[in-house]
């Protein structure tokens, strides 16, 4: 019995090392993307620029920490949003409203609303960083997006409760970043278009300093998320992601 176990281990190792592991494999491409998206532990400061059309633009800055599937953010400006905090842990999103000193869980239809009035919904912010867990990828082909060579991947949800049933991603061949993504409903309706820009190399990974998101259903809106500072690989105190930390002044 023990021998069989040893054989199995050897066999598995052998199969995995077969050179057939090529990048024509959509699963492998998506895996690479997930690796980039899944941050081991980081602290950051970001600026959110929301345009509501006709010169109505709001800027919000926040700082926070992220580790794997958890994040904590704290808004610094503008005055009306100062002190607002969000915590995502165990797939649940919490909001702290300083004006009324209350913590509320964001659930139900609220999850589909724009976070802080942006084009990023709470669901977008709260979603699983590993797309491969929720989607089955299919390679549609290769395209040149502006100057970048990309793989075009179509992702179809494995479960019905995933926010966007279908996604179309243009993944950079060198950076493995989703340079452009289109998010669709099950009926095939385009909901959102996102891009990542200003990709820089930090240590052994790529990181986009600029995200944009446009909710196609709303007219003339656009949200740009700019990273002002980021430290990847930082050791984050796990207490930061505790619920009681939300309310702590």
């Amino acid at each position: 019995m023990r021998r069989l176990g040893v054989i199995l281990v050897i066999l598995t190792a052998f199969i995995c090392s077969v050179p057939g592991f090529s990048l024509d494999d959509p699963v492998a491409i998506l895996e690479k993307l997930d690796e980039q998206r899944f941050l081991p532990g980081s602290s950051f400061k970001m600026k959110m620029i929301i345009t509501y059309g006709k010169g109505d633009t709001r800027e919000k800055t926040f700082e926070g920490f992220e580790k794997g599937q958890r994040f904590f953010i704290h808004f610094l400006s503008p005055a009306r949003d100062k002190g607002t905090r969000y915590l995502k842990r165990k797939g649940v999103m919490w909001l702290y409203l300083p004006k009324v000193d209350k913590v509320i869980q964001i659930k139900g239809h609220m999850l589909r609303r724009g976070m802080m009035g942006s084009d990023f919904s709470y669901e977008d912010a709260a979603e699983n960083a590993r797309l491969l867990d929720d989607y089955t990828p299919r390679l549609l082909g290769e395209e040149t997006l502006q100057t970048e060579e990309t793989y075009v991947l179509e992702l179809t949800a494995k479960r019905p409760d995933v926010t966007y049933y279908r996604r179309k991603l243009w993944i950079g061949k060198t950076t493995f970043m989703p340079l452009k993504s289109e998010l669709y409903t099950k009926s095939g309706k385009l909901l959102k278009v996102g891009t990542v820009e200003d990709i820089r190399r930090i240590d052994n990974r790529y990181y986009p300093y600029r995200h944009t998101m446009r909710n196609v259903l709303k007219k003339d809106t656009l949200t740009v998320l700019e990273t002002l500072e980021i430290n990847i690989g930082e050791d984050i105190d796990p207490q930061v992601f505790e619920l009681r930390h939300l309310k702590r002044q």
Partner: protein
Amino acid sequence: MGIIIKLGFQNLFRHRRRTLLTISAILLAVGIVTYIQCHLKGIIDSMVDDFIRLHTGHVKIIHPQYQTKERLLPLNLNLSAVDELMAELQRIPEVKQVAPRLRFGGMLNFKETNQTGMGVGVLPERETDLLLLEKDIKGGGGLQHGGIIVGEILASQLGVQLGDEVTVLSQTQYHSITAGNFRVSGILATGFSYIDRSTFYLHLKDAQEMLDMENRASELIIRGEHREKTSSLAAALAPLVGEKNLTLLTWLEQGGMAQMLKSTEVGIGVLVVVVLFLAGLTIANTMLMSVLERTREIGTLLAMGMRPFQVVTLFLMEGFYLGFFGSMGGILLGTVFTLILQHTGISIEGALENMSLPMASVVYPRFFWGAPLLALVFGTLVAMLASLLPAYRASRMLPREAML
């Protein structure tokens, strides 16, 4: 002819009991007809007045797309630069009162209890004759900054009392979650259960701040001199509203008001006809009995040489006297009754408790001259007509037969 008119009058006193009975029947029927009309008029009028006061104004100014999506309380379809717009409106002489309102969906939280409701941001000093009637505010004072007035039923569902601090949760016009703490400064009991159950009021400035809607409102409620003068008010406002590319709606154009009014009026018309029919039947029956009883008398009159035409006229005159005096008494009774109840009101709270009807729970009948006038003409005519037929038939008989 003169003698017949006189004789008809004197006949009233021959059989006093019969006369009294007939007159009482007419009096009661006409009294009811008079009152019912005023009662129904009172219901319609108070419905319209309350609707104008609480919802529509004589006219309302809104964003052009607001009306079609009104049910969703869309914050983005708002009026901007409201302060300036109000100042401009007040320069128009036909405009007597302008009240800005900012309506939004929200949730009230008190301790562990949550209730959803409709919030309305108002400027209290502009709502004195409109939303925040002093008589409606039960306990507490007016609305100040940082205060909230909660509908009576909503307040009891939340378990809040005057002075408690409640949290209002809502979304800004950009759908960002927002909240504020407000101290309960009044409990509103309008008597409209659909308002008292779900509505709360904030100071406009507080609502604007919370919803990120500085100097904005969902609607401007405008009152002119009288609701009958709505069209001239609308005409006076049209140029300004057109220039700003906004939409103006008169009270008749809002919330299916005209349709509701029309169907209510039809319903009430039917009701009045039914009441008239019943009253007419009572009067006719009494008259018929009293004339048929007198077939012999008619025979005697004919035998003594009175002509059939004169006999008919005599009875017609009697019918007229009975109808007229009975009806006069009836409208007096109905009017007095109406005037008393117009003052005290009739509570129908029990009947409305579980209904979301836009009706006040106290009905005040409203006197109008048309009601007694119609009742008088009707009562008199029915009495005359009812005496005409049997008298005519008897006058056609041979005196011998009639006297049998």
